[in-house]
């Protein structure tokens, strides 16, 4: 056993003899290609869409993107970010699995002169150069306010589906939703954990409809779980269009394709749509400026959500812009710069 251990140690140490030590990184010169390292917690549909846009616009701007996906594993993400630091990228974009567990490597990156952008999820560290965030608490508030507007004072039960239990966006959406409905005595909230899994969303909805056949409403924390939720409602014989008698009110967050389609068909009532269409342009141009060492006046940008309902969908689509779920993310690969920039106006 001793010999095998010695062999292992040798195997792992010899390549290191050729290694270079750590050194502080200088900002790239004007003509040098910028390398952007991107660490993604998990490829949810919204993130996949936003990242596809970032990749396309970066390509158009001559920025090289190296990315890794941590599959919801904080340990793996730390290792992946360290790998990106080791590759001496010019700027790091981190969509964190956990905003606390990532701080160690964020500080490490900053110590090596690599600016870090907290992407779509805030990281509470002074080492962060810029934060591009969504507003999950407010998204929960918007869904709850829609339900409040429909409240007729009768006793009702609401199924609140929960996202991943350790996902800060899921937690804040839950808090925003529940804080808004707090103190309204006729509305009873029951919980259904989903871990962002459509199959679990279907199961918790089916269970809720078994226990409460007159279920009044369902809150979906991310509308990529819309289809499975509607399947459960259909199996319980309650699938009706909004406004029809016996309809289960369905509120959702995000604006992905399944949610958008269901809203168009009036099977769900509202979506707090996040402005993911703005994200690629803000991300790429901010990252480029930061990588070149330019000072940013503001250190944070928070995208706003817009409440689309089955009543105002046509009107808002014309005035505010399309819901991102109405666009196939693969089609982004043929977009021009202007296609991205028009969403900043």
């Amino acid at each position: 056993m001793k010999k095998v251990f010695i062999l292992l140690v040798l195997v792992f140490c010899v390549p290191g003899l050729f290694a270079a030590g750590a050194k502080e990184k200088a900002a790239p010169s004007a003509d040098k290609e910028i390398v952007m390292g991107v660490s993604i917690a998990a490829l949810y549909p919204a993130i996949q869409f936003a990242f596809a846009g970032v990749q396309r616009l970066a390509e158009l701007e001559g920025i090289k993107v190296i990315h890794s996906v941590a599959e919801g594993d904080a340990t793996k993400q730390n290792q992946q970010v360290q790998s990106l630091i080791n590759q001496q990228v010019d700027v790091l974009l981190i969509y964190a699995v956990d905003k606390e567990a990532i701080i160690t490597v964020v500080e490490q990156a900053a110590a090596e002169g690599i600016p870090v952008i907290a992407w779509l999820r805030a990281i509470d560290s002074p080492a962060i150069s810029y934060t591009l965030d969504i507003d999950p608490y407010n998204e929960g508030v918007r869904s709850a306010e829609y339900l409040k507007s429909k409240n007729d004072g009768e006793p009702h039960v609401i199924l609140e589906q929960l996202g991943a239990l350790n996902d800060v966006n899921a937690i804040l959406r839950r808090e925003g939703f529940e804080d808004t409905l707090k103190g309204i005595d006729n509305l009873k909230i029951i919980h259904g954990p989903t871990d962002w899994d459509p199959t679990k969303a279907q199961a918790v909805t089916a269970n809720a409809l078994t226990e409460y056949p007159d279920l009044w409403a369902v809150q979906i924390p991310s509308d990529h779980m819309t289809e499975s939720t509607l399947t459960a409602i259909e199996e319980a014989g309650r699938l009706k269009k909004a406004g029809e008698p016996g309809h289960v009110i369905v509120t959702a967050i995000d604006g992905s394709e399944p949610g958008y389609k269901a809203l168009e068909e009036h099977y769900i009532d509202s979506i707090a749509v996040i402005s993911y269409l703005q994200v690629p342009a803000i991300t790429v141009y901010t990252a480029a400026r930061i990588a070149k060492g330019e000072a940013m006046l503001d250190k944070k940008y928070q995208t706003r959500s817009t409440l689309y309902t089955y009543e105002n969908l046509d009107e808002l689509s014309a005035s505010v812009g399309k819901i991102w779920g109405s666009i196939n993310y693969q089609s982004l690969s043929s977009w021009t710069k202007d296609d991205f920039l028009k969403y900043l106006k």
């Binding site: 056993m1 010999k3 095998v4 251990f5 062999l7 292992l8 195997v11 792992f12 140490c13 390549p15 290191g16 050729f18 290694a19 270079a20 030590g21 750590a22 993604i40 490829l43 190296i66 990315h67 890794s68 996906v69 599959e71 919801g72 594993d73 904080a74 340990t75 793996k76 730390n78 290792q79 992946q80 360290q82 790998s83 990106l84 080791n86 590759q87 001496q88 699995v97 956990d98 905003k99 606390e100 567990a101 701080i103 160690t104 490490q108 991943a164 239990l165 350790n166 996902d167 800060v168 899921a170 937690i171």
Partner: protein, 317 residues
């Protein structure tokens, strides 16, 4: 005098080591930043938590059992320890809490599996859920801050090696010795190979199994503490993704799912192989989806090599 071929023969019993060395050479040539001290440190530090928990899982798998709770117990231990310590509390107390929680779960697993003969898969699935539930219930899903000293432990190096990796190496050496050089270790192999035969020769099977699960729980507690040091916080969901990596590392290394076969060295190789694979593919700039395919193929090849060696050894025996 030892025969010169003996060491080579031992290396020949570790077929996945060849896959590991092959990948090491391949990545060193293809990715300029792979074969650097800092990158190797990255790999070692990131595997420390997994390696310690995988040591306990190795003991259990060799004995013919299974523990699905290792990763959740690690998460639960870290959350409870962080809760007790707070951001500025006693580190020693935190360590004791982490070890105590891990040991507690290990004792419960051991008691019900060894004494009351419950199926390990089912029972540890239950304790996995309980541990996960406690971690989330106490933390409400949020990561908990820990004292600065523990964070520094996660960043520190000892003789150029990450300190948490040094701790995991010490655990490997200790359990490598216990497994191969003590009666307790040999008993574990015998129980895993043939429980009836072990009973007939007078081995106290229940007591040994109980001790294995208790030790595995203790190691999960330590893994939880190390995960806090590595991540700089106690994260309730840290166990969710770790379980497959832990069991995967042990199995890919060459420890049998059916008991009686395996070693700590094999686990070291398996855990390093998986970590190196993820790291190397990242450095090569593989797309996420392509990485999954490449990881799957390497795991399949490793398992194929292990199975071939098992069969050849069985045939020659």
């Amino acid at each position: 005098m030892k025969k010169p071929g003996k060491a080579l023969d031992r290396v020949g019993r570790l077929p996945v080591l060849f896959v590991l060395v092959f990948l090491l050479i391949l990545f060193s040539f293809l990715a300029p930043s792979f074969a650097t001290i800092r990158n190797l440190r990255t790999i070692l530090a990131s595997t420390a938590t997994i390696a310690v928990a995988a040591t306990g899982e190795t003991l259990i798998l060799i004995s013919g059992g299974l523990d699905l709770s290792v990763a959740s117990v690690a998460a639960c231990s870290s959350i409870l320890a962080a809760k007790v310590m707070g951001a500025g509390g006693s580190v020693v107390l935190g360590l004791l809490v982490a070890l105590g929680v891990g040991l507690g779960f290990g004792i419960v697993n051991g008691l019900f599996i060894a004494r009351f003969k419950l199926t390990p898969f089912i029972f540890t699935l239950g304790t996995h859920l309980v541990a996960r539930g406690i971690a989330f219930s106490i933390s409400r899903g949020y990561a908990i801050k820990i004292p600065e000293v523990i964070k520094q432990l996660g960043r520190a190096n000892w003789l150029g090696i990450p300190t948490i990796a040094v701790i995991s190496i010490a655990i490997f050496l200790l359990f490598g010795f216990l497994l191969s050089r003590t009666t307790w270790g040999r008993t574990i192999y015998l129980i895993g190979s043939n429980e009836n035969a072990a009973r007939y020769v007078g081995i106290r099977i229940s007591a040994t199994k109980f001790s294995i699960y208790a030790v595995s729980g203790l190691l999960s507690g330590l893994a939880g503490f190390l995960s806090m040091a590595y991540l700089g916080a106690a994260v309730p969901g840290v166990g969710d993704a770790l379980l497959l990596t832990i069991i995967g590392g042990v199995i890919v290394g060459g420890t049998s799912l059916f008991g009686g076969e395996g070693s700590i060295v094999k686990t070291v190789i398996g855990v390093l192989l998986l970590a190196m694979l993820v790291n190397g593919l990242n450095l090569l700039g593989f797309d996420f989806w392509d990485q999954l395919i490449a990881q799957g193929l390497v795991i399949l090849i490793s398992i194929g090599v292990v199975m071939k060696v098992f069969r050849e050894r069985k045939a020659s025996a």
